[in-house]
Amino acid sequence: MGALGKPIILMVAMYVFLKFVLPNIPGSAPLPSSLIVLYLLLTAAGIVIFQTLSGESKDAFWGPMQRFLTGENIGGMQAIRYGVFILFPLLVGWQTYGSTAASDVPPSESRTIHPAPPGEYTGLSNPVQKTPENIMQGKGFYAAFCSPCHGANFDGKGPAARGFNPPPANFADPTTIAMLQESYLFWRIKKGGVGLPIEGAPWKSAMPRWEAELPDEWIWKIILGEYDGAHQSPRTWE
């Protein structure tokens, strides 16, 4: 049972860690089941690889399973074996039913967060000079128009943020605006959620279409203010 017991303990420990320990680390959150399954699959692959590196370890690992499945010299475990043979197909059937039956649970989301911008918005450079005055002005516009949702600290935690799903973007996160060119932000601010292309389906964004209210120059200044306030730099090629 040694060679088989350790992998079982490892799999259980990994599941407990991913499901109950990791979400409770400060600043963390529960993991979606897709990620838990992915990590468990990797763990299982690692176990199989390691246990089959030599003939002895392979026999110690597969042997008990093989004996159990073939019923060879398992003595009093025969009843459990028959139980597994009956329960396993039922479990598979239940899982299949559960995944195909009509349900009121909304489907998983795999929306494209950053769809490609239209051609006319690619390669634009910010026409507003990066001066302290322009940045200050941009921050002022940001405070007036953007901070209610995106937050005074540029962290996506404005007073109105809690009302939105998905939540407003956190600009202080190095994986958001720091990955994008200024022209991309210009497009998103100007056209808003309603201007998302087909690729951005199901168009879940409450971002207003600011072109109706703000001149282009203000939008460019807001972009300067956002990057400066969030301590990030836009993606450039120079």
């Binding site: 963390s28 590196l53 990955m179």
Partner: protein, 614 residues
């Protein structure tokens, strides 16, 4: 049965080797193109025909499948001569005859695959002309000088290949051998150009450079030298070696599993090792080339870059991570099995290092496979506060991916070094010092790669892309270039404590080789789709719009079906080619000669084997 096999062989020879294939497959192509002729008539009433279609399967799907199969076959045919020739050179300079025999066996596989590749190229051309006449007119107008060059190259490549293969046995000694080596060089030289010329046509569609004035040659040259041409050339060159290596490994794996005597087991075990080594050797460099290609695409056009890496095609890169992960695991597993089974007594010594390497690989893989935007139900997304996990979300961006891919390359390289060193005892006086230097280099390099990866989050993107990522790559190259010669020097004076035992690998080693080959094929079909789809609704990006009914990107699920079909079909085609190629071995084996007397890899190619002509 043997009589039947003999009849097939005679029939094949009677029609000039591959003539039968050619005729049969051209008939199928003609049959497939028939409905398009009927549909063409409809288009002809309103003006020049721009598109034709074919019922049920659809013209785009058919082109997709044939193009992908042609590309896979071409990758194999252009990749194998590189290492077949290198093996021959090793045998020539080092005097180890087994490398010459191996090179010949690789070339045997090549010869039979070559005509099939050309055949699929012909079918693809017919179908393109039939289904996309407007596009083909446009491309011909720009590229016709290179079309002529391509035809010439093809003639030269074919002639060189036949001379190289059929002259193998007669050009074995003295100056004749030198000539044969030169022929092998020429074969690779022409093969390189045969690859890069059509690459220009494909990359032009993605990143076109169009000049309206100038001569035909000037226009063709400008279109050829487009921004993604050389990144694709380098990426495909390396990928072809990887594909060729792993397919040869899979071939050896299957032959190993079906071998009936010790001699065969030893030979195919060794051949499998060489195939895996070649695959890994290329695999170590492939992520660098891929990164350069993506960087050039991003720089060329932000829209295309985002479509690929951040838009709807970004999921393909998560699948890519999974496939590359399996490939890394499979290759390392094969090395580790080699240590355990080929070098008796090594298992206890290396089991712990293998465990640590495995755990490190899995951790890296977990990072690589973690998407930035997670697949989550509404409820799960609400708990996370969006599609990004607050803690693990940072693993979803390039800084993390580049770091772990570099670490995985380092680990795989160390797996190879461990295999290389197993069964040997250092005797050099400086051995302890040398090992300390190597260990320090490895540890410091790993730390530097991780530090640069973490630091990458806190600097502007351009600093990360231009300096940090390239530094990570240079560090890994430095490690490889430092540890390889040091190990070689150390092993020069080392005492062999345990002799390598070939032919003792368990069956799962053979299956691992097959799995690796399937993963590489899947990867190529996946990224082929990604590259083509990044043009979205353009035939030639920003220049010629796709106005056919197929001007949309297929859903990822539908695309994956075609990818799987292409992978399966390619495996079947390769299996068939190899079966035909080895038919002669079996026939000879059954005609009375003792098995032990037969050299391995007796070819049974078009026109008969060289041995038969003696």
């Amino acid at each position: 049965m043997q009589q039947g096999v003999g009849t097939i062989q005679r029939a094949l020879r009677a029609v000039g080797g591959h003539g039968g294939w050619l005729a049969g497959l051209l008939l199928i192509a003609g049959w497939l193109a028939l409905p398009s002729i009927g549909l063409a008539a409809e288009g002809a009433t309103t003006g020049p025909t721009e598109y034709r279609d074919i019922p049920y399967i659809g013209s785009r799907n058919l082109i997709w499948i044939v193009a992908q199969l042609h590309l896979l076959l071409a990758g194999f045919v252009l990749g194998v001569p590189i290492f077949a020739w290198l093996c021959e050179v090793v045998a020539w300079r080092g005097g180890e005859k087994r490398y010459d025999k191996l090179a010949k066996e690789f070339t045997k596989l090549l010869t039979s695959a070559y005509s099939t590749t050309a055949l699929f190229g012909g079918i693809l051309l017919f179908l393109l002309v039939a289904f996309y006449p407007k596009l083909m007119n446009y491309l011909t107008d720009i590229f016709f000088p290179s079309f002529l060059l391509y035809c010439l190259l093809f003639l030269l490549e074919t002639a060189t290949l036949y001379l190289y293969w059929y002259g193998w046995d007669t050009m074995q000694e003295g100056r004749k051998k030198t000539l044969h080596i030169f022929l092998g060089f020429l074969l690779n030289f022409f093969a390189l150009f045969i690859m890069i010329v059509p690459n220009a046509w494909a990359t032009f569609q993605s990143s076109p450079v169009v000049i309206s004035d100038g001569t035909a040659i000037e226009r063709a040259w400008a279109a050829t030298w487009n921004p993604t041409w050389w990144p694709i050339n380098i990426h495909r060159l390396i990928a072809n070696v990887v594909l060729g290596g792993y397919i040869c490994g899979a071939y050896a794996g299957i032959r190993y599993l079906s071998s009936r005597n010790t001699e065969e087991r030893e030979h195919y075990d060794w051949m499998g090792y060489v195939g895996n080594f070649i695959g890994v050797f290329g695999l170590l460099a492939l992520p660098f080339a891929g990164y350069w290609l993506m960087r050039e695409i991003y720089q060329y056009n932000q829209q295309m870059g985002i479509t690929l890496m951040g838009g709807f095609l970004s999921w393909l890169f998560i699948i890519q991570a999974m496939l590359i992960g399996v490939l890394f695991l499979g290759s390392n597993y094969y090395f580790w099995l080699g240590i355990t089974y080929r070098i008796p007594g090594s298992e206890s010594k290396y089991r712990k290092p293998m465990l640590w390497m495995l755990v490190s690989l899995l951790l890296c893989l977990a990072v690589w496979m973690t998407p930035h935007s997670l697949v989550a139900s509404i409820e799960e997304a609400q708990k996370m506060g969006g599609a990004h996990h607050p803690l693990l979300g940072v693993l979803g961006v390039m800084s993390a991916k580049m770091t772990v891919s570099n670490l995985m390359i380092l680990i795989t390289f160390m797996s190879f070094v461990m295999y290389w060193r197993a069964g040997k005892q250092d005797t050099a006086g400086w051995a302890t010092f040398g090992k300390a230097v190597m260990g320090s280099v490895l540890v410091l390099a790993s730390i530097a790669v991780i530090v640069l990866g973490v630091w990458g989050y806190f600097v502007p993107a351009i600093v990360r892309i231009n300096y940090f990522s390239t530094s990570q790559v240079l560090i890994v190259i430095f490690v490889i270039l430092t540890i390889t010669p040091l190990t070689a020097l150390l092993l020069k004076s080392a005492k062999t404590t345990t002799e390598m035992v070939w032919g003792s690998m368990p069956p799962r080693a053979g299956y691992a080789l097959v799995l690796n080959a399937v993963m590489v094929i899947l990867l190529m079909t996946l990224m082929g789709y990604a590259r083509s789809s990044s043009r979205v609704h353009w035939h030639v990006y920003g220049v010629m719009r796709d106005s056919s009914p197929y001007a949309y990107s297929p859903a990822l699920g539908s695309a994956s079906l075609i990818m799987a079909f292409c992978t399966f079909s390619f495996c079947m085609i390769v299996a068939f080619i190899f079966w035909v190629a080895t038919m002669g071995d079996k026939a000879k084996g059954g005609h009375g000669a003792a098995k032990g007397e037969l050299p391995h890899g007796i070819p049974a190619m078009a026109g008969g084997s060289p041995d038969e002509r003696r």
